[in-house]
């Protein structure tokens, strides 16, 4: 067993970390999320220049042949700096599917992603699906060479920025059947597609996507999209585990600094034993979260059952501990913690969002129980 990063991974981490320290501090980020576009294509380009968009892809597609560990390194750093540029939806979610599907579509799109020219998103949720990936009401109908999609996809990260979206739709089966789900590529600019855009509570660009006979291209085998979707979302969860680790570690640092500076009743807050223990608990949560992120990353390429268990477990754990670290950090910042003026509150909001994204703690706890056979006919 070894937990060491390779030299290349260390280099990615260092160059990314330096870049974010220099160019993406709290103030710079604040300007970006308050800008009209809500993201910075310029930063996106610079991250692409650092090679970030190319990390997981094959060399033939202009990629760097990296793996889950490289993604972990990147996501932890993006988390530390609360980067809102759409790395997760583009590279991890859409990227994973394109890689797995391969063929012409991969050849066309992956080089564009790797080069920083294309942002993508994955539209998997629906108004009544909650977190069940197999709950798909959106329908696909054959139309000439291609398909048209009709339905409503919820809260699609990066939807307003994306040049292409991957969408799950039903080619057969009932609303909640595991079979009959297919994946499609759509152009959000096409007729029949309406993106109702907003930012998420933590400043990320997102939108609902309303499809009314929107033209679409099938990718992957018809009716067998669920396995791909689960793979991509598990990868997304594993990436989020690394991101949450970055958040948690940064929140702990910020809280330690704040309580050391801030005096109350003539003594620094950091001298209060109750707050010290709270920070010790934050530290422990961050370390354990890192362990879960590492473990899940090591299983990201394992067989689907192992991968799913590892992802479910990691999501439960980062949901619980991320929420704990965020709430404690805000509490220890006192009033300042709940204003938009300090970084800590933004970390907390993003941690909250990561608990919900892809399914909250309860959901993945239940999923873990089912996957491990703990829950059969339990009531």
């Amino acid at each position: 067993m070894n937990f060491d990063l390779t030299e290349e991974q260390d280099m990615i981490r260092e160059s990314l970390s330096r870049f974010l320290r220099d160019r993406y501090d709290f103030e710079a980020r604040g300007k970006i999320i308050k800008s009209e576009k809500g993201w910075s294509p310029e930063v996106w380009g610079q991250l692409a220049e650092l090679g970030l968009m190319a990390v997981p892809f094959a060399e033939v597609h202009g990629g760097l042949d990296g793996g889950p560990t490289d993604i972990m390194v990147v996501m932890e750093e993006l988390g530390r700096a609360l980067v809102v540029e759409p790395y997760l939806p583009t590279v991890v979610l859409a990227g994973s599917i394109l890689q797995a599907v391969g063929g012409a579509v991969a050849e066309e799109l992956i080089p564009q992603i790797a080069g920083g020219e294309l942002v993508m998103g994955l539209a998997y949720a629906e108004p009544r699906s909650r977190y069940d990936l197999f709950h798909v009401e959106t329908t696909a109908e054959k139309s000439g060479d291609g398909y048209t999609l009709t339905g409503h996809k919820s809260v699609v990260l990066a939807a307003p920025l994306a040049g292409r979206l991957i969408v799950s739709a039903r080619t057969s089966g009932g609303t909640r059947g595991r079979d009959g789900i297919s994946l499609f590529l759509i152009d959000p600019q096409a007729d029949g597609v309406t993106v109702k855009d907003y930012s998420t509570i933590d400043g990320f660009a997102a939108g609902d996507v309303i499809l009314d006979k929107a033209p679409a291209t099938l990718i992957g085998a018809e009716g067998e999209g669920l396995a791909l979707l689960e793979m991509a979302v598990d990868r997304g969860i594993i990436a989020c585990a690394a991101e949450m680790t970055g958040l948690a570690r940064r929140m702990t640092e910020l809280t330690v600094d704040y309580t050391r500076q801030r005096e109350q009743f003539g003594v620094p807050l950091s001298k209060q034993q109750v707050l010290q223990h709270a920070m010790a608990d934050m530290f422990m949560a961050g370390e354990e979260m890192k362990s879960m992120a590492v473990r899940a990353t090591a299983l990201a390429d394992a067989d689907p059952a192992e991968r799913a268990k590892a992802a479910a477990m990691a999501k439960v754990f980062i949901g619980k501990t991320g929420k704990f670290v965020g709430e404690t950090a805000v509490q220890l910042h006192g009033g300042m913690g709940i204003t938009e003026e300090m970084a800590i509150g933004h970390y907390f909001m993003h941690a909250t969002m990561l608990d919900t994204l892809f399914g909250n703690r309860d959901y993945h706890q239940r999923r873990y129980e089912a996957l491990t056979g703990l829950r059969k006919d339990a009531a």
Partner: protein, 395 residues
Amino acid sequence: MDLKFSDREEAFRQEVKAFLDEAWPAEKRGGKTDFTRENYLGWHRKLHARGWIAPAWPEEYGGTGWTPTQRYIFDKECAAADAFPILPFNISMVGPVIYTFGSDEQKERFLPPTLSGDIWWCQGYSEPGAGSDLASLRTKAVRDGDDYIVNGSKTWTTLAQHADWIFCLVRTDPNAEKKQQGISFLLVDMKSPGITVRPIITLGGDHEVNEVFFENVRVPAENLIGQENQGWTYAKFLLTHERSNIAGVHQSWRALDRLKKIAADKDLYGDAPSLMEDGDFVRRIAETEIDLTALEFTELRALAREESGGGMGPESSLLKIRGTEIQQRISHMFLDAAGNYGLPFQRELGHNEATEGPDFAVETAARYFNMRKTTIYGGTNEIQRNIIAKMILGL
């Protein structure tokens, strides 16, 4: 021991219900609130017209003469009807200070508009960098003829953007031995030259609190409450008054009711099982109901002690701690109930119509964030535990 309401109390409840049915009809109920200045004042004035705006005040100043149990019934029925909240600044805070420590002129001048809502008060206590250590305040007031000249700043001033007047703690003797000495209690017209208000936007985008700056603000000395340098006494008096209904029990029950309806609403789930079919969610609701029941009866016992003249005392810290913990838990359950639709930020302050997703979801995240304040304000829950340890357990 008898935990049933007496016939008299039951009759009173009917009276309150009848009033609410007329004054706050069904179409206003259902959890939607539009926190505008007009809405606040509208409800305030309705209660004032009925003579019920200040139940806890002595009757001679406009109080109702109700027992604590009647006040409890009144609060419960108002919450059950989703009635607008009454702002505490006039009724629970400055009013009691004025009628207890103010001069006859001050009572005459300020109490009627404080009751009627013609003056909207805000509270100038906290200062930047001071946190829960209130007495370390640095805003200065220097006597100059018939005026004080005030310089400094206050923060966390709730709804200062709407306020007509502010009641302030200011330092009048910078050389006093202890920091609690040398503080005075001043009433200041917000329209005075030299006052500026800077919004503080909190997580979730609310503009609820402000920083208030004083730059050479002239305040007539007749606006001083009580004696110069004795302000800390009045401030502490106010802080104990502020604690009434700090547990928010009725509001939490009401919120749980709404949550259960949402979690069972088949329209939201279609072919999918509803949240009420999810044992883990049911368990969270049940646990919260049980904890809330324990808190409710602890509050009732405290009320009974108050009724028999025992006073509230440091037990109020318990109500504050548990009440706020429960409020936060409920806000988290709402967020979880919203699922993916907890994520979009599509909210204008005070409105709650969703552009996407179910209506209830639109403010769940903002509310969850906003509720973090409850364990911080009014003395953090850490400080409340310090108080219990010191004042009750003698540690």
